[in-house]
């Protein structure tokens, strides 16, 4: 019973015990210890892959149900109870569809683009603190790693746009890239402000800095709103869904993609939604901290709270025009974020 409680609430302790025990046993066999570490790392990666898939299956279903709720219709309700297996059916369908490669495409770039888009989304999961001690690797440069890795997905989008050799793909890819880089700057400035307040880059450290319910959303309410707006733009969702504005660009940079390649774009989009919400929950809502329930549960409650908020925004506002979109970031968000940073610096030093 104690062990179960430790695993749920205080994962560090049983894990360190198990780690020490495994290493002692391994030493008895006389093999070098780094091989065991590599096995553990592989296990982490596979576990995170499974979590990512299950979570993506759920979040797609959740998104469609919420969308249905907002539009007063039923949403998926045929496959399985309440339509719960709809996403699985879609995945299987995409897996057995024909993979069409148009003649004009640049095959290498065309093939690598979904891979390049998927890799950053998966690698960011490395530093998401799911619970106390439940983090694949608490890198001391955590949030910097997040910024660096998410920046890489722009390359995948540009590759998809350029490699497809279709006019819609090219314009969609370029728009998407310029939107991503523009909204990354206010996001970075807000993250810098949080780093200033917590004095550490590690994700675990940022959660620790908010311990005792001193969550950052209240002192950083401006930063929180900026982060939500910029995050919504980063995941290409309405009102910032210019890259896949279906009325003008068909489907944006993934117009030419089919079957599993398309599935990876789709998967990356929803995983990005989850990651942005998870980072917002970690930076502003105290991560896994909360009363009674286990930390993991609190983490998912907070993350899905932000996910729901983003969906609400998505179904409330109409799409922006492309010039308004760019000006909104450069003329409003970035000056406000800089100002927010300066004010925070003054408050920290002088108060």
């Amino acid at each position: 019973m104690d062990l179960l409680k430790d695993i749920l609430y205080n994962t560090d302790k049983p894990w360190n015990q198990f780690y020490g025990w495994a290493h002692a046993g391994w030493a008895n066999w006389g093999w070098p210890p780094f091989i065991l570490d590599i096995i553990f790392q592989l296990c982490f990666a596979v576990i995170i892959a499974v979590v990512l898939i299950l979570n993506a299956l759920w979040i797609i279903y959740y998104d469609r149900k919420i969308a249905a709720l907002f539009q007063i219709r039923k949403g998926p309700n045929r496959v399985g109870p309440l339509g719960l297996f709809q996403t699985i059916a879609d995945t299987v369908k995409l897996l057995i569809k024909e993979d069409i490669n148009p003649k004009a495409v640049d095959l290498a770039v065309f093939f690598l683009a979904p891979v390049f888009i998927f890799i950053p989304t998966f690698m960011v999961m490395l530093v998401i603190p799911f619970g106390r001690g439940l983090i694949p690797a608490d890198l001391n440069i955590g949030i910097l790693y997040v910024m660096a890795i998410t920046g890489l997905s722009v390359i995948g989008i540009l590759m998809a746009g350029w490699g497809s050799n279709s006019k819609y793909s090219l314009i969609g890819g370029l728009r998407s890239a310029v939107q991503l880089v523009s909204y990354e700057i206010p996001m970075m400035l807000v993250i810098l402000t949080i780093v200033m307040m917590s004095g550490t880059l590690s994700m675990g450290g940022i959660v620790q800095a908010q311990a005792g319910y001193k969550w950052f959303w209240l002192p950083q309410i401006v930063g929180f709103i900026l982060f939500l707006i910029a995050g919504n733009a980063e995941v290409n969702r309405a009102p910032f869904d210019l890259p896949e504005a279906e009325s003008e660009l068909v489907a944006g940079f993934n117009t030419e993609y089919s079957a599993m390649k398309f599935a990876f774009f789709y998967l990356a989009e929803y995983v990005n939604l989850f990651i942005t919400s998870a980072i917002a929950a970690t930076l502003f809502l105290g991560g896994w901290e909360g009363p009674l329930l286990p930390p993991v549960v609190w983490f998912f409650i907070k993350t899905y709270f932000v996910v729901t908020l983003l969906m609400w925004i998505r179904w409330t506002f109409p799409r922006l025009r492309v010039d308004h979109l760019m000006e909104f970031s450069w003329k409003y968000l970035i000056p406000i974020a800089l100002l927010n940073m300066v004010v925070t610096a003054f408050v920290i030093k002088l108060v």
Binding site: L42, E98, D99, V115, L139, N165, L192, A259, V342
Partner: protein
């Protein structure tokens, strides 16, 4: 231990993505056709190449992004030690740095580079 996990994640991500696409190649049907293998352009035959000249604005914004990204990279070490360094100098120095940056942004704004036309 920790940074090894980054490499392992990269490895699993590549295997996962490439594996998914390759499995799809094997179990999916393969029936290419002349019409099917053209790129989409509202149902008619595509005219010319898609790699045409596009707006210079994309480059301008990419350039501005590089400036701000480098600025953020410079500010990160400052932000980490900001609370622990005593004295007011740490604030003034950063204010000068951010001030120069805001001047640059104001200049670009004044020049009309932030406008998308």
């Amino acid at each position: 231990m920790q940074y090894g996990t980054v490499l392992m994640f990269l490895f699993v991500a590549v295997v996962f993505a490439v594996g998914g696409i390759v499995v799809n190649l094997f179990i999916g049907p393969h029936k290419p056709g002349k019409e099917k293998n053209t790129v989409y352009e509202c149902g008619i035959d595509p005219t010319g190449d898609a790699r045409i000249r596009y707006s210079i604005r994309f480059y301008v914004f990419a350039l501005m992004y590089v400036i701000f990204a480098v600025e953020a990279a410079f500010l990160i070490p400052w932000a980490v030690v900001f609370k622990t360094v005593p004295g007011i100098m740490v604030l003034i120095e950063a204010l000068i740095f951010i001030g120069i940056l805001i001047l640059g942004l104001a200049y670009a704004w004044e020049k009309g580079e932030l406008k998308w036309d």
